[in-house]
Each structure stands twice: as C-alpha cells, then as structure tokens.
Symmetry: C2
Subunit: 355 residues, 2 copies
C-alpha cells in the first residue's frame, strides 16, 4: 500500500540562489516532506508542506538524548532532462539500520522511496545544473516526546528537506591535507559508528577544529581500541592506492558503510583493479609512503563524491601523496561516478533511478 501524500503548496515561492555560489547546505527549497509517528498508530499523515520552522516542546527528547538519525543523498538533472537518484535503495536500507540501532521505528522501504521521489519531483526546478552541483536530499527523523529520562520516544517526526549544493569542500577536486587524529575517537565497535546519527558527528567536531587550526582540512580517524587501525577520514570513507592495489578499511562495526564507498569498490573491480577491504595500520601506511609505494589516497562520500588527499600528518611525520596532485585512479573514479550520477555516461551498473 502506498502513502497517500497530501500536498499543500507554498503561496510564497522563494527566489532561487545563484547557481555559481551555492556552497553546501545553506539554501533550502520551497517544500518539505513530513510524516508523524505515534505509538500504537504507526507512521501517519504523510504530507508535503511549505518549508517552515519546526515547533517542538523544550523537553522534546531529541534535544536531550539525541535520538535522531539522518541520511544524505543527491538528485541530479541529466542533460536530457531526466531527474536521477543514485542508488536510493542503499540509503534507505541504511536508514532502517540506523533506526534499528537507535530504537526508532522502521519506515517501510517503499514508503521512504515514495516520500523522497515525491518531494524531489515537487521541487525539481530547484535542481541546479552547473558543474559539480546537485540537489542534496536530507531525510531525517527526530524523537519528539516531551520527557526527561532515558527511554525510546513514543512519538517521532520524519522529514525530507532539500538543498541545492555546490562542492562540499572549498578545495573542490584539489587534494586536501589530512591530520591523523591520535587523541579523539569517533566511534568504537559496539557503539554507533556504523549508522548515521548525530552523536557520531558531535563527537567529531573538536578534532576537526584542532586539525583546522593546524592547517588541515579533515582528520583521519584511528580505531578506539588499539589507536592504530585506520577507520574513516572526516565524514567520508577512505581509500589508498598501495602498489597496484586499492585498499580500504573493512566494515568492522565502527565504520559507516558508505554508498559511495560501495560504488567505488564495484567500479574499481569492474576495471580489473584489485581492491582489498582489510585492516590497515597507520604505521603500515606511513611505511608504504616512505617506500614510495603509497601512490594515491582519497575519501568517498555522498557530499564530496571523491575527495583526493594530498598530504597526511601523523604525529608530525608528513607523508606527501602523489606530489599533492589528484591521482589517476581518483580522477577516473570521480569522472565515472559523477558521469553516471549526472546521466552523462551509460549506467552499466543499474545504479540510477529516474523520478
């Protein structure tokens, strides 16, 4: 049974932002999707309404206990006018994994997809068409019970908001400098690192600020148990090209299973490149760099797609990568991933979904 979405259109459409100065996550479209959950009743009242403030009790549990989850995906406008989503099934499955870890009620996958398609279709004129631009889609759920005391909320609100965006990093495709974090920990097995929830990001801000003060764009996280094995970079998964092999940390329970990560692995393998998902020690990585065997490094994520890494700093040891320039594999992955996402090249993987 599909959702019966009620639509209330804005009487005051906003002016669209300059497509050449979008930044990331600062502009929002005319409408949003909303649906409520009430214990005993389930998810109800799916609706598209004008984008407007949310009104919540000060005691709403999301403010105190961070029972909240989100997803991030993008819609693109192909040159032939088609509106494309990229592997929405993966984001939707992950959303329900996040819900499970956070004791938030599941949303049927087909309902979530219908909601996302409906709101993107409603505001499709907001999809920017400039280079490296897209419409960022942010589904999220917040706990709304007005209650102090730790337990799962009995009421929730599910939103989908949309933001026309440019590049996530001001560097664009220019390689970023990364600081290896050895004091703060993002997540540990048994925690929430494998799902998308606010607490993981709250935990990460301080290290990011310290790295920024030192002139680095992001941090490379090490595991919280041994403080030795590589986990993620900033808010992205991380890949290294060592000799003729691409290596990336295995999904171990504290790493986010990124959709772009999975797509990069599939694409690299389709090109006949060897990809290993395994444990990578930071000392092993620096040893490879010293020996000239670390040829490329890059992050993957929905926001930046591919973000090349030009330098690593681990306790004062500097490892320059590929002379600070984008590597061949990084560039080829970026071109092909964004090519498929934008409908510029044939999608031989069956990843794009037309709205």
């Amino acid at each position: 049974m599909s959702l019966n979405i009620q639509v209330t259109r804005t009487q005051h459409p906003k002016e669209k932002p300059d497509p050449n100065h979008l930044g990331f996550g600062d502009f929002f479209t005319d409408h949003m999707f909303v649906m409520n959950y009430t214990e005993g009743q389930g998810w109800h009242d799916p609706r598209i309404i004008p984008y407007a403030p949310i009104s919540l009790e000060p005691a709403a549990m999301v403010f105190h206990y961070a029972q909240e989850m989100f997803e991030g995906m993008k819609a693109y406008k192909a040159p032939d006018g088609r509106v494309l989503l990229f592997r929405p099934d993966k984001n939707i499955a992950r959303a329900n994994n996040s819900n499970d870890r956070l004791c938030i009620p599941q949303i049927p996958e087909e309902d979530m997809l219908q909601a996302i398609k409906a709101i993107v279709a409603e505001d499709k004129d907001w999809i920017p068409e400039g280079k490296a631009t897209s419409l960022y889609i942010r589904p999220f759920i917040i706990a709304t019970d007005a209650h102090l005391g730790v337990r799962p909320s009995r009421t929730y609100q599910f939103y989908v908001i949309l933001s026309p965006v440019g590049a996530y990093y001001k560097e664009g495709l220019n390689p970023v400098k990364i600081y290896v974090e050895d004091e703060y920990v993002r997540a540990v097995k048994g925690g929430m690192g494998h799902v998308k929830t606010g607490g993981n990001y709250a935990a990460s801000i301080k290290a990011q600020m310290i790295a920024a003060e030192r002139g680095y764009t992001q941090v490379l996280w090490l595991d919280g148990v041994h403080r030795r094995y590589i986990e993620e970079v900033g808010t992205m998964n991380v890949f290294f090209v060592i000799d003729d092999e691409v290596v990336t940390p295995a999904l171990n329970g504290s790493i986010l299973p990124g959709v772009t990560r999975d797509s990069a692995i599939c694409m690299l393998k389709s090109w006949g490149i060897k990809v290993s998902e395994r444990q990578i020690a930071i000392d092993e990585l620096f040893e490879a760099a010293k020996e000239g065997r670390l040829r490329e490094a890059f992050g993957t994520g929905t926001a930046a797609v591919i973000s090349p890494i030009g330098e690593l700093n681990w306790e004062g040891n500097i490892a320059p990568i590929n002379g600070g320039a984008i590597g061949e594999i990084s560039q080829k992955l970026y071109d092909n991933l964004t090519g498929i996402q934008l409908g510029l090249i044939p999608d031989t993987f069956g990843w794009t979904v037309e709205i």
Copy 2:
C-alpha cells in the same frame, strides 16, 4: 557583570500536578529561562518567559549533528521554607567541560548560576514537598544554525526548564536488577563519555531495551577497549562494597564525573570508610560475589540519588547481592545525602546553596 534578565510572566498559569503521581520528567512549570548566542556577539538576551514550544529551522544543526549538551540538578524545599540547590558549582563546571568537548561556547559560571537561581525562584511554588520529590532542573544548550555540513554552529540557545519529579525508578529505594552488557558500548576514551551530551544516551537506549526485555532495570557498562572493566550502570555511576572497602571505577575519560558520585565518596570517607577509585574487572567482581565478599552495590546519580542493586547478571551468571535487600551503607548514604539536600540535617560539607 551580572545578567540583566527580562521577565515575562505567563497569563495562563497551569494547574500543578498531583504530588503523589509525579513520575519523572513529564510535567513542566510555568516558565523557562532562555538566552541566545550569536557569533561575534556572545550570549545575549537572557530572559524568563512562559514555558512554550521552541521554533527551529528543519536544518537546525541540533537535529542532524547532535551538537547539544545538558545538565541535571535538583531544587528542594526545606521544612523551614528555604529553597536549596545541591552543589550547583559542580554541575556548572561540568556544563562548561561539556561545552568545551562539543565546541559550544562557554557560559560564565556566575551567569549560569544566576540563570538557574532566577528561574527556580520564579517557579518556586512548583517545588513539590512530598517524600522523595523535588524540582528537577534541566539546563541545556542546542546548536541552531540552519546548515547541513559538519562544523560547529555559530548560533545557540541556552534553556533552563523545570520539572516537579518523584522517584526516577518505579522501584524507588527497592534494589534493581542489573544486566551486564557485553555487546553494546556506551563510550570509549577519546569519545564523549566524560561529558553530558545526547549522543551518549542515544548510544545507550538499545542495550537498555534488551535488558528490559530480559527483566532487568538497567545495564552495567563495560569498557569499550577490553570489554572487561566496569564503567557505569545505566545513567549512573556505580559503587561496590567488597569486604570492608567501597570501590568505584576511577574517572578514566569515558566515565561521567557524577556530582552524587563525588558526594558519596566524600561522605563515606568522612565516616572513616575506605574508598578506592580504581579499575574493577567484571570477573573480579563476580569472584568476590562467589566468595561472599560483595556485600552491597548501588548506583549514584542526580535523578535517583542512590539506587541499590539487588542482582547482577553477567552472561547468564547470576550474582545476588545482600539477599536482594538494600544494604546498610546504601541506606545510610541515601538518608544522609537526601537529608542534606532537603535541609533536614546539618550540612557539614557546605554543599547546599540557598536561593
């Protein structure tokens, strides 16, 4: 310089709840304290206004990245009519530690105390006077920038809301059954476990629900590195009486430095009882239980004050404690702590602050 607090009183005072059926955290008083932060301007516009919903952009960072902190404290009405706070300086110092970890701007200690005193004085008629009741005080800060993308917010709101409360656990002072958690992890050194922020609580809900399904009130958390050393119990610190010594986990960077924990340690020492803050392995604890040397166990926290533990379950091994009855030390601590908090006995520690 003290805050110039503007006061707007409600035109519609609410009916006060039945003091015999308060529960915990479900009722809120007539007013709340609010203050805004804007980058470049600092904290501004301190005010007391009627308790009412908060209106925020759907993109407000608190909903997505859980950049939020809170505190919990209580106000009591003494038999002679004085309104008492308990060690507010400790909560306020911890609040700024939480702010530091979360990259939230500090609030001057004297301003936070002034705000708390002002709102409690405003709604002092809401302080319940029944047995085991008090006015729970919840200061909290939320990140309010409408921005998708991980960075510290540039705007915040600081609130203090008040809730007349009864016992936190329905068991009251009757010992609770505790399940030793060996799958999920609350926090790890380098994370946020030592400060009071939503993410820690979001991470804890699932284990709590699984324990509840098994008939246990709370979980006992083990450390995330070795999965062996005891950290906290539910949302409280934990103490054990082994032989003639009281032991509690040392503050190691992943444990919350509880105000009730510190008070219990001071009080026990003042009675000439030996207290050790150290690493405690779960196997050591069960060995002591088997040998009949584990005489008492209890949690400490602002909400429940002292919560006796009557049984521990670790991977199916059951350790009954003190025949499931409250122990002598637990009872004496509860009587003396609540006695001082309520102004029933002389405060030889100088802990209470009169409003």
